[in-house]
């Protein structure tokens, strides 16, 4: 494990369930690591895999995608599309040399503040074990060579 490594994790959250669940963690004052920073979208189905790749390419150590539980998407089925995309993306990540454990998909409802805090803790620990994401540096080198 790298000493003093503070992972930088980007979280994508849908407005209706997951973002609200994270708000609930806040209103309930449930503490979790500061390493996660949230980008709000209306539905998890809005998350273009390109955003996740861009995050990794720029040096994100982890990406957490969150959405409503199956059946609960505010837009009927956006989260099913998310699930499919994430499964495909995981395979792709491996080919890029990014450990697929750096990407995580979780369903978080508006009442699951505590669940979100637990996921946050676990995920930060998992990323700590994996260490920093080197791909960004390598990418930069490649770009420099070109």
């Amino acid at each position: 494990m790298v000493e003093n490594f503070e992972p930088n994790i980007v979280v994508f959250a849908c407005n209706w369930c997951s973002y609200a669940g994270m708000d609930l963690a806040g209103t309930s004052r449930i503490q979790y690591p500061h390493n996660l920073k949230v980008i709000r979208v209306m539905c998890s189905g809005r998350i273009n895999p390109v955003y996740i790749l861009e995050a990794f390419a720029n040096g994100a150590d982890g990406v957490l995608v969150t959405g409503c539980h199956p059946g609960d998407c505010h837009y009927i089925s956006g989260n099913y599309k998310t699930r499919k995309r994430i499964i495909l993306l995981e395979r792709l990540l491996e080919q890029f040399g990014i450990e697929k454990e750096r990407l995580r998909l979780e369903w978080v409802s508006a009442s699951e503040g505590e669940k979100f805090a637990n996921i946050a803790k676990e995920f930060v620990e998992q990323i700590r074990k994996l260490g920093p994401n080197h791909i960004a540096k390598e990418l930069r080198k490649e770009v420099a060579v070109v």
Partner: protein
Amino acid sequence: MVEDEEVRIGVYICHCGLNIASVVDVKKAAEEVSKVPNVVVAKDYQFMCSQPGQNIIIEDIKQHRLNRVVVAACSPRMHEPTFQKAVERGGLNPYLFEMANIREHCSWVHEKEKVAATEKAIKLVKAAIAKARLLKPLKREKVNVIPRALVIGGGIAGIRASLDIANAGFEVHLVETRPSIGGNMARLDKTFPTLDCSQCILTPLMVEVSRHPNVTLHTYTDVVNIDGSVGNFKVKLLKKPRYVDESKCTGCGTCITKCPWTAPSEFELGLGKRKAIYFEFPQAVPLIPVIDPEHCMYFQKGTCRACEKFCPTKAIDFNQKPEEIELEVGAIILATGYSLYDVAKAMPEYGYRKYKDVITGLELERLVSATGPTKGHIVRPSDGKEPKKVAIILCVGSRDEKHLRFCCRFGCVAGIKHAYYIVSHIPDAEVYICYRDIRTFGKGYEEFYERIRNYENIKFIRGSPMEILQDADGSLYFDVFDANTNRIVTLRPDLVVLETGIVPHPTFKEVAKILKCAVGPDGFALELHPKLRPTETSVDGVFLAGAVQGPKDIPDTVAQAGAAASSVIALMSKGYVETIPYVSSINEDLCSGCGICQPLCAYDAISLVKKEDGKQVAKVDIGKCKGCGVCAAACPSGAAQQLGFNDEQILAMVRTLTR
């Protein structure tokens, strides 16, 4: 236009009293972000949401010629609308505003890590600034609402809703697939808990709706297609041929008396017969017969024409064709009701349809009805004798993991009512009610149950039979374990009445598909919110009334019909709807017409159209688009973008957070 202007951003960091300021160093944050390009002013203030706080924004917009505003405070789910209004009052488009959540997502969850929390807050604000820089003004479009409603289903729900809308002064088209309106309530003899005669309270409403100047009735008609969105639905109906000219028919019924051919009556659930030309039931509205070509000898063999010969007004028209009707309506009410669970097929152990003397509760209603197949005499279907011992079985198929998981909500009270029917028609009969629990939730239901429970000849057995069997002599018998006495009871009833579970009307699936509205796991229409929006569907402008949404007794059905009608009336009195601003937008120059986006949209908002130059492009109906962004995430050309959440804006945030 804002786009060509130099971007001038004002950033406001809220203390939220001490909620934020006790953890995040707000002064430092303001100072840090003031260095970000395009930031013209960066301030911190105790309560940004207060009136003085909002005034700071409004004045700065004027004084510093701001054209973007970022507030770092609580959750946007809390105060985004507050600040958007302030920005608007300052003279800017309200969507040139972005919020960073440094309370719920920062100070409150990192209370003990002040330094890290301050750093995180700064990052979050910078990400918001990065997005704000790329924001464009958005607008809500006004869509006019056509002041005309479509009601699908002419049961008590559809009738009540139509009358309410019509009485408010709006036009209604009421569509019923059967030859008469009335629905299942028309089949009932009496209605619990008051035992008033069902027809007596229903038929006046049927007549009223058919005569109402604002109502157009389309009976024997199906909905074949619906396009468009709230305010402007285009509806296609198909009127099935009755082979009777409605404009000539007076409803005298001579044709029916003269017709020599019969068939089982749908309305009587097969217990009685009707002619090949028939009224749905004697009080049918409209009182115009239909010819059933499957049983009509003229259609089958080419001879007969008795009805034609005797009709005094020459109303019979064997050449009638299905007729397409097109309508434009602003709102739709779904009121397609329910059907009984198919117990014959799903639960053969009860012998329904195998043994003639096993009937459903709805069939008993017909046997009791004065206009029914037995003129109101309760007799056994097998031999026409009066039953002296009757078993009523509750929860048949309901609350059963293998069948229907839900409670049918009226089976218990219907069963109790049915016991009353038996003892009031046949005073020396014995009735056994086999139940699991008695659920009497409605107003007056428990009192009704108490009253019936006092009859000596009505007995309650707590248990359900496993199987109904038949002896060599044809008599029925079954064993049931009574949990109240811990004994197995063997019953030999003359008649068995099954209070079956219910399912949506068989056509509902197709209607839901046409409308693209969500269906729940139980097969009934899914309401938008089980508590707060129980009459709305996933499709704007489409509302629910009655058993289409799930089992409902008449009082609840009527209440919901009123609620659905008032939603429609509200929509129409206002006259327009506003679209959401975060809709999808297609850049036609970039669109390759690949069509990937089209099937992904859960609201069918995207269609592929040919432009004048022949190029195929995707087009979004903003009246239908709900702004999920699913299409934008899938478009390989970057042509589909969600306004307010476009690729550039989100990527700018990603980059800010990761670099």
